[in-house]
Symmetry: C2
Subunit: 470 residues, 2 copies
């Protein structure tokens, strides 16, 4: 693997080949939880991490023509007391290969700079393109509307050009990025194995989560997103962990590591608490797995990710027809979005420094130019609609869920009255949620399943859970 | 315990006895981590929690004359899909005893309200006092300067009156608050016992942290602050967990639960990884414990908390003189701040909905009117300087740390050249950091140590660690 400084220099050169204006990227700050001294763990901006390589708090970098200038304060005496000794600005500048380094405060234009060269830096800063950091209030709006909300003014032209340039770089991972994601994946797979093995010896979801996150912490990693470890798999982003584990439950576990420099893994497995799937659970599991396997088998550079999504939907629909839950032809069922009653999200997304990579840019990364999200029930949550390219890493994560808010909605029950066998469905009441999620690297000729060392077959999953019995 | 609705009604009546203007309190939003859909766990504003009782996202309450109006949207269909079914606005209003309830959007004045009564609400809102929510950028400024930064304009008079009224209520806990904190304490003590017992069976700090946080999660609680579980006890707010545990290490563990409605515990114990303190570790531990015990023994309503701090400092100094680390008279050493070389923080702080209760208000809660922080090295980090009152809950947390940034500072080495026996100190190299922290309730006549079921004596600590050996 090249050195960090070499990797970053290469990325700057790629960027300089795409744009000719200066760029300023900030790392961001730790938000307070309930008062200023009680903060959430720091997470640097991913765009900053891509070019600066390290999660430096309260820092900025300027990039131009392949050069990098670092703005960062030396650690204060109080910081040494509360947070321990830390490297100096100059040590960090050397590590990341910055061409120059100044205190953070000198980033702002001043009338009487102590160093005349700083005036140049400041003038330069005022012409720079940048990318906005998260804004809690606007993010709350985005969350409420389930889409990225932007101020309705016309975006700065260089900012848009910068964002497109960064998307094109971050979309196709370099070797350092691939190796970093592989490191996150390896820790994640170890965590999932441990999670399966402790399931029969702990009593709550919390016991499984704690054992898994311990593995990540031991690797000096954190979680790339709030872990989902739940017997209520039908709640897609469940963040409760206090439910007791009961023999008949399926446990849906979506836990992924993030390396110290911000690279993510994103892996889901679903396993039976008892170590054995019930016949109904096994039947649906195998339907989801067939969709998963078919999706990955069809992936290659040039293939449209949307087609992979629809292929998985048809496999799901076909499997549910075989089980007697749906009625009709798979193609027609998918055209009617009947699959989305049970699989209401997309087949996956880009993976990189963000678990949904570059989703801070809305659909700029996820959707090819000129495309936009569909309003269709079965396509609206698809986060990626582009032809696959070598060096992309994407997730493949089909699922089956019985979401009361969808299945008990009178309008939907009416709309799908002829295609769902509601009585037959009741026999599958012990299947609340199943998801199988792998991370897949596109190569020149096909794919490499980064998560392939963790089994997906039901029988292998059962064996892993049972192997933890004391 | 009274019902939640009764507790909240009582609090509103107390507030109405102190102020006669309307009040508007917001719950806040979840900040994004790296993109809008990837958020930190939600933590509602503590002032909102005190009067609304539940951690409702994107909500506000109006309080006036003992009445409460709730502003909250019903859960959206997308929320039901991603986060599960949730109670409706009306169900929540009934649970918390709100007198009226409207959608969140109707909080803002509109020209053409659908309901004429809402125009009244809106006019009313415009006259209301409030308390500002955390602002990530300003909080970063506060963190950098190690003090609360406010905009330099003159604060709204009613806002200051409201803050003082809330301080007077939240300072002296009602029975619901005390019972809630006791619940957080009980889960915390269980976590510490488990942490001690797993120490000899795990290999890293992460193993201890995970086992402890599992206990909290199982109680459907979270952590009130980022856990400190470290062999580098001299780093006061250490947030790394990947270091291996070695037989000679002391493990400093500062972990506290937060209940689902936001009430905190804050407990520290320090134990030997091997299950046995070395003679030097034991000697310093006993000095810290003597300071701890003397501080608690001196506590009673009317006693100045600052005097408790100075008493603990004198006990520490006296103990370190006995060990030959300091030289001189304890009183004189404390007057020179020599104790602060090894104990650079305050003896404790208020505890309540915030682990440093009401610290979002700067020192308005912590410091009696007319008092302000000292610039003295040995007093600057004291977070509470008031006479103790019944129903206060405070922490008592003396410590001993060898902080390189303090002890290797040439200016300090020169200043304290005659009072520190630096050669003798080198013999205590295996004592990096010790802290013993309990949570103490002031009663009418004395104190109740809420954390007393968890031993502090070295021999009892050793027994707990050793009891985990397989």
């Amino acid at each position: 693997m090249p050195s960090l400084a070499d990797t970053l220099r290469q990325r700057r050169e790629w960027l300089a080949a795409l744009i000719d204006f200066p760029v300023l990227l900030w790392s961001g700050v730790r938000p307070a939880r309930n008062f200023p001294a009680n903060q959430y763990p720091f997470r640097a901006s991913s765009h900053f991490l891509y070019f600066a390589g390290l999660p430096l708090e309260r820092s900025a970098i300027q990039l131009q023509n392949g050069r990098m200038t670092l703005f960062l304060d030396d650690p204060s005496p109080a910081a040494a007391l509360w947070h321990g000794t830390a490297p100096t600005r100059d040590q960090i500048a050397a590590q990341i290969g910055a061409d120059a380094a100044y205190p953070y405060a000198e980033l702002m234009p001043t009338e009487d700079p102590r160093d005349p060269s700083l005036l140049e830096v400041s003038k330069w800063a005022m012409e720079a393109a940048t990318i906005g950091l998260p804004s809690p209030v606007r993010d709350a709006q985005s969350d409420m509307l389930d889409r990225t909300v932007e101020a309705p003014n016309i975006p700065n032209v260089v900012d848009v050009q910068l964002a497109r340039a960064i998307v094109s770089l971050r979309m196709q991972h370099d070797s350092t990025a691939v190796e970093s994601i592989k490191a996150a994946v390896q820790a994640t797979l170890e965590a999932h194995r441990v999670g399966m093995q402790v399931t029969t010896t702990v009593t709550t979801e919390a016991g499984v989560r704690a054992a898994m996150e311990q593995v990540l912490m031991t690797h000096n990693m954190t979680t790339a997103y709030n872990s989902i470890v739940t017997i209520q798999g039908e709640v897609l982003h469940n963040e409760h962990y206090h439910h007791p584990l009961t023999a008949g439950d399926l446990l849906l576990v979506d836990v992924g590591a993030e390396t110290a420099t911000g690279w993510a893994a994103d892996v889901t497995r679903t396993w039976p608490v008892s170590g054995q799937f019930s016949p109904t659970q096994r039947a649906v599991y195998d339907v989801v797995l067939a969709a998963h396997d078919a999706a990955i088998a069809a992936m290659a550079p040039g293939v449209e990710y949307r087609d992979i999504h629809l292929l998985a939907c048809r496999h799901l629909a076909a499997g549910l027809v075989e089980l007697g839950i749906l009625q009709g032809q798979p193609d027609g069922l998918v055209e009617q979005d009947a699959h989305a009653l049970f699989f209401p999200h997309g087949i996956g997304h880009l993976l990189g420094l963000d678990v949904h990579d570059m989703e801070d840019l809305g659909d700029l990364a996820g959707y090819a130019e000129g495309r936009q999200r569909s309003n269709r029930f079965g396509l609206g949550y698809l986060r990626l609609d582009r032809p696959l390219q070598p060096q992309m890493i994407v997730t493949i994560e089909p699922g089956f869920y019985q979401v009361p808010a969808l299945l008990n909605d009178p309008q939907r029950r009416h709309q799908y009255r002829d295609v769902v066998n509601w009585e037959r469905l009741e026999q599958f009441a012990d299947v609340r949620g199943i998801r199988i999620e792998d991370d897949v690297l596109l190569t020149e000729s096909g794919v490499e399943i980064l998560t392939q060392d963790l089994p997906t077959q039901a029988v292998a999953i059962e064996q892993l859970v049972q192997s933890g019995r004391i």
